[in-house]
Amino acid sequence: MSAYKQNGATEYDAGSGISSRAQTISKSRRRRTVGTPRKSVLLTVVMLGMVVYSLTPVAWLVINSTKTQASLFSTFGLWFSGPFALWDNIVTTFTYSDGEFGRWLLNTILYVVVGGGGATVIATLGGYALAQFNFPGKRAVFAIIIGAIAIPGTALAVPTFLMFSAVGLTNSPWAVILPSLISPFGLYLIWIYATDAIPTELLEAARVDGAGELRIFVSIALRLLMPGFVTVLLFTFVATWNNYFLPLIMLSDSRWFPLTVGLNNWNARPPSAGGELITNLIVTGSLIAIVPTVVIFLLMQRYWESGLAAGSVKE
C-alpha cells in the first residue's frame, strides 16, 4: 500500500515557480498541516454515516442468515433472534431440491476458472505482444481494442445470444465461458503494465543468448508481469463470478446455472404446493455467494487499487 502510494506521488514535476519556492520554504518549516493534518472528529462522524449505509445491507444479510424461516418473518431485521440456525440453513441450502445449489456453486467455479482465468491468460499474452513487439497492423489492432473497451458488455448479450443460438451453442457451459474469455480492459492494463515493467534490454539479452520467444515470455516476462497478471485475474474473477445477464439468456437448463442465476431462480419460484417459502435459503445462499468476492477483495487490496488507478489515471 505505502510503496504504491510513493510510486504514484513522487517523480512528478509541478513545473512551476511555486513548487520550487515551496520546496525551499518547506525545508525550514514544519509540514504539519500538509504531511499529517489534525484528525477531525466531525469529518469522521460524517463518513461513518456512509460506512453505516454501505455495511447495513451486508449486516442484514449476515444476521438474517442465522434465522429460521419463521423468525425471519417475525423478528426485527437488524438483530439476532430466535434459534441460531446458520448451520441448519447452510446444510438445507446445499441439500434443498437435490442439492442444486452445490451444483450451481461448482458451475460458477468452472466459469470463473476457465472463463476468468482464460481471459487473464489471453489478455496477458496480447498485452505483452502490444508492449514489446512491433508487428504489421499493430496500430489498427490497437485502435480496434480501444474502441472495444467502450462497447458495454451488456449491449452485446442479446446479439451474442442470437448468434450463439444460430450456431447451436446456447444452453451449454461454452455459451457462458466463450464470451467471458475476452477482457479488453485486461489487455489494456497488461499492455500499460508491460511497457513499464519489462526492460526491453533484458529480453534482447535473452535473445542473444539464444532463448526462444516462448521461453523468454514464460521465464522472464511473466515473472515481471505477475502483479499486473494478478490484478487482471482479480477483475475477471469478480466479473465472471457476478455475471448474470449473459448466463441468464444463454442457459435454459438449470443444471448449468451459475449461482447468480440460480439464486434469482429460487427467488422467482412460486411457493410449493404446501406453501413452503424458502426465503431463509435465498438469504443464506446470497451470503455464501458474496463470501469469496468479499474475501478476495479484502486480501488483495493492493492489486485492485493499482488496477483502478491504472484504469482511471493513466491516459
Binding site: 504514484g8 511555486i18 445491507p57 417475525s74 467502450a150 449491449a155 455467494a289 468479499v294 488507478a309 482511471s312
Partner: protein, 307 residues
C-alpha cells in the same frame, strides 16, 4: 578491434532474419485474443446488424426490410418510455452518487479521518457484492412484511411509502445502484487525488489558501479525468440497466413492466416474443446511443481541459 568478416556477416544475417521473424512473433502472442475477440465480439455485432435488417413474418417468411426495424424502434412508445426511464435515472442518480463519491474521496485524501482504511474498505465493499445479490438483498429489505421497511413501520407505527410501489420504484432502484457503485467511484477519484504533487498543497498553504480553496483550485481540477471515466461507466451502467429491475420484477411484478429498461425490452422481445430481428435492432440502437453519449462525455471532458 580485429573481427573476422565472415563471422560478422553471419551474425548480421542471423540478426536480420531474427528481426524478420520477430515482426510476426507479436501476432503469435496476440492471436488467441484476436481469435476470441472476432468470435465473441465482432461476429455477434455483425450478425445482429444482419438480423436487424430482416423481418420474419408468419405470412411471407424471412424478408429484407432495410431500416424498417430501426424506424419502428424510434417510433415505438414502449422503447422510448424505457429509454426515458433510464435517462431520468442517469440524470438524477448519477450526480447524487458522484457527489457522495467525491465527498468520500476528498475526506480520505484529507488524512483527517480516524480509521480511514476501515472507511475506505467499508464503502468499497458493496462493489464486491454481485448485482443480483444486491438487488435481492435490498428487495428483501424494502419488503413491508419482514424487511427493514416493515420493521420501521411497525416500530414507529407509521407507514413509509412502499419503495416497491410504482411511485418509488425508480428511487428504490437508484438507491441500489448508488449503494453498489459509490465506493467504486470513490476509489477512482481517490486514486486520481493521490497523484496530485504534494508541493502544490505546500505552495497553497504558504499562499494562505484555506481547505475549501485548495479543494476548489487544486483538487477538483485534478479530478477531471477521473470524473470523465466515472461518468462514462455510469452512462453505460444506466443505459444498459438490466440486473436490478429484472430481479426486483419478481418482487413487484405489476410495477416493473417487461419494457422497464431498453435491455429488458430487448430481452423480453427475444424470449417471450421471439422477435429476434426487432430485438437485434433495439440492442443496436441502444448500443449506439450508449457509445455516442459516452463519447460525448469524453469530448466534453477534453474540451473543458483545453479551455
Amino acid at each position: 578491434m580485429h573481427t573476422n568478416p565472415a563471422l560478422n556477416f553471419r551474425s548480421y544475417f542471423a540478426l536480420s532474419s531474427a528481426k524478420n521473424r520477430r515482426r510476426w512473433i507479436g501476432w503469435g502472442f496476440l492471436a488467441p485474443f484476436m481469435v476470441v475477440f472476432l468470435f465473441v465480439l465482432v461476429a455477434p455485432v455483425i450478425y445482429a446488424i444482419y438480423l436487424s435488417v430482416f423481418q420474419n413474418k408468419l405470412v411471407g417468411g424471412n424478408s429484407f426490410v432495410g431500416l424498417a426495424n430501426y424506424t419502428t424502434a424510434l417510433l415505438d412508445p414502449q422503447f422510448y418510455t424505457a429509454f426515458l426511464r433510464v435517462a431520468l435515472l442517469l440524470l438524477v442518480q448519477v450526480p447524487i452518487m458522484l457527489v457522495f463519491s467525491t465527498i468520500a474521496a476528498l475526506a480520505l485524501d484529507s488524512s483527517r479521518l480516524y480509521f480511514s482504511a476501515l472507511v475506505r474498505i467499508s464503502i468499497f465493499l458493496p462493489y464486491a457484492v454481485p448485482g443480483v445479490v444486491a438487488a435481492l438483498l435490498w428487495g428483501f429489505m424494502y419488503g413491508p412484511q419482514f424487511g427493514l421497511v416493515g420493521n420501521i413501520n411497525s416500530f414507529f407505527g407509521i407507514r413509509i411509502p412502499d419503495p416497491l410501489s410504482s411511485n418509488f420504484i425508480l428511487v428504490a432502484m437508484g438507491n441500489i445502484v448508488t449503494w453498489e457503485f459509490v465506493g467504486y467511484n470513490m476509489l477512482i477519484l481517490y486514486s486520481a487525488l493521490r497523484t496530485v504533487p504534494k508541493d502544490l498543497y505546500e505552495a497553497a498553504e504558504i499562499d494562505g489558501a484555506g481547505t475549501f480553496q485548495v479543494i476548489r483550485a487544486i483538487k477538483l481540477p485534478a479530478l477531471r479525468q477521473a470524473f470523465v471515466v466515472a461518468l462514462v461507466f455510469a452512462v453505460i451502467g444506466s443505459f444498459q440497466l438490466f440486473n436490478e429491475p429484472n430481479v426486483l420484477k419478481t418482487l413487484s411484478p405489476n410495477v416493473i413492466s417487461s419494457n422497464f429498461t431498453p435491455n429488458m425490452y430487448a430481452y423480453n422481445l427475444s424470449f417471450a416474443g421471439q422477435q429476434f430481428n426487432y430485438a437485434a435492432a433495439i440492442a443496436i440502437v441502444m448500443g449506439v446511443i450508449t457509445m455516442i453519449v459516452a463519447y460525448a462525455v469524453q469530448v466534453a471532458g477534453i474540451r473543458r481541459e483545453n479551455r
